[in-house]
Amino acid sequence: MSSEAITSTDNAVFALQNVRYLYNDRQLALDGIDLTIQRGEQVVLLGANGSGKSTLLKLLDGIYTPSAGTMHVLGQDIKTATTGEEAFRFHQEIGLVFQDPDIQLFSATVFDDVAFGPLQMGLSQREVKERCDEALELMEITHLARRAPFELSGGEKKRAAIASVLSLKPEVILLDEPTAALDPRTKWVLVNLIRKLGEAGKTVITTTHELEIVPVIARRILVMGENRSILADGTPNRSCTTANY
């Protein structure tokens, strides 16, 4: 990927300039984040535990708003994009899969969880059903639709959590450690699904600690440092070497 593509903000999904975020207005979580992500990019966020990867994803998803700096999402200021009518468009375009699937699966059945997003968008019952069936089929969990989340294994929960976001048909998918604590087979099934999403033209941003999956799912790597800022940004090999990761 050329450096022009990385720095240009014309087609940017996210454009962050000198962004800083403080937990409870006190504890520094992110500092001096300058980042532009283009539509259709597949990016991996690497970094040590506590370096701010998950916080950055929540910031990109509009759950947190920057304490300082400017942030534009889909060409709009984040504060405008996540309020009122614009919030619907925002959540249709950007979907976040949380690290802990138990947080994401809050309904009584898998189907209800997958249907939650489309229902909030005000879609008709028929459209909701179609979207849910499609997402469940894509994640190969149609047979689990009527199951309660507490009956699922770790891998099944991860798939259900991803399906609950895919049913929104977002253009941008944020995945927080999607392969953590999974057996090798389930992990590679998910990795292939993430790769396919990228090939389908979606913007996919994934945080992970598993370096072996990085070349499969990303063309660009961001390495977060312990100083809560981005240490390196570039192609997989170059970024890891620069950041000594």
Binding site: G62, I63, I103, S107, D112, R147, A148, F150, E151
Partner: protein, 291 residues
Amino acid sequence: MNTTSSQGSVKKTYRRQFGWIEKTIAGIAAAIEQAVFTEEHSRQPGLLQALDPRAKLAMFLVVVLAASLSNSLVALPCLYLVLLLLARLSKVPFDFFIRRVWIGIPFFAGIVILPSVFVTSGPRLFDIALGALHFGPSSASLLSGTIFIARVGVSVSLAVLLILTTPWSDILKSLRAFHVPQIFVLLLSMTYRYIFLFLHSANGMFEARKSRTVGRSSGQEQRGWVSGSMSHLMNRSFKMSNDVYAAMAARGFQGEVRSYNAYRMTAQDWLALVLACLLAVLIFCIGRYVL
């Protein structure tokens, strides 16, 4: 001999020490197992499982009402036989169905009804004298006690049958048909969902405690640990509630609850509902006008 006795006392102490932890772990595991068992049965290809959950809930309410209004010692056992037949056709294990209802019911219902059986006026079957006070059951009080226990047994059997043949999520959604507010249904459904998560957390904490406890701890230490665990779980649940809200907001939730309703009442559901209503009328009439 002495060694054996001292070993015995150590064993006894050990048992006393870990009894409460093991009991708690076993209780939590049993609750989870019970829920999984119930959910599995509700997916069996049986007669009641095939019905619309709203129809089942309405049938349940109608028949429970009839059972609680019935005074007949003929109608209630007949109704119970119908329930046994329905349980059989719905592939509900007989032993579980009968045990679940009749092990606790006579005891709890008996405690409630006992004073009114023994404190009676008029002719008694036998007399128990406690100083100046005289107690004893009359044939009428025994009959009303038996009817009360039969009513409770039939009503609880109906509830167990409903729960074993309907997933919890469907029962909760059916409440919407009876105009229970959507927010109430959502809260109940989330409570049901997260109870299991916290049961797992609590189980993990108890198991971790058990694996690291070697010596004997005092009652004060144990109470301290239990209260510490409670506050830890409380903090976790508070953090999780914030995270869950964030996850809901990330999918577009803005305070208005919407739910998916895929239920369609078929001719079979209407027929079952009509039959349940007829059965309820029959039970009521037998009690009032026949026996």
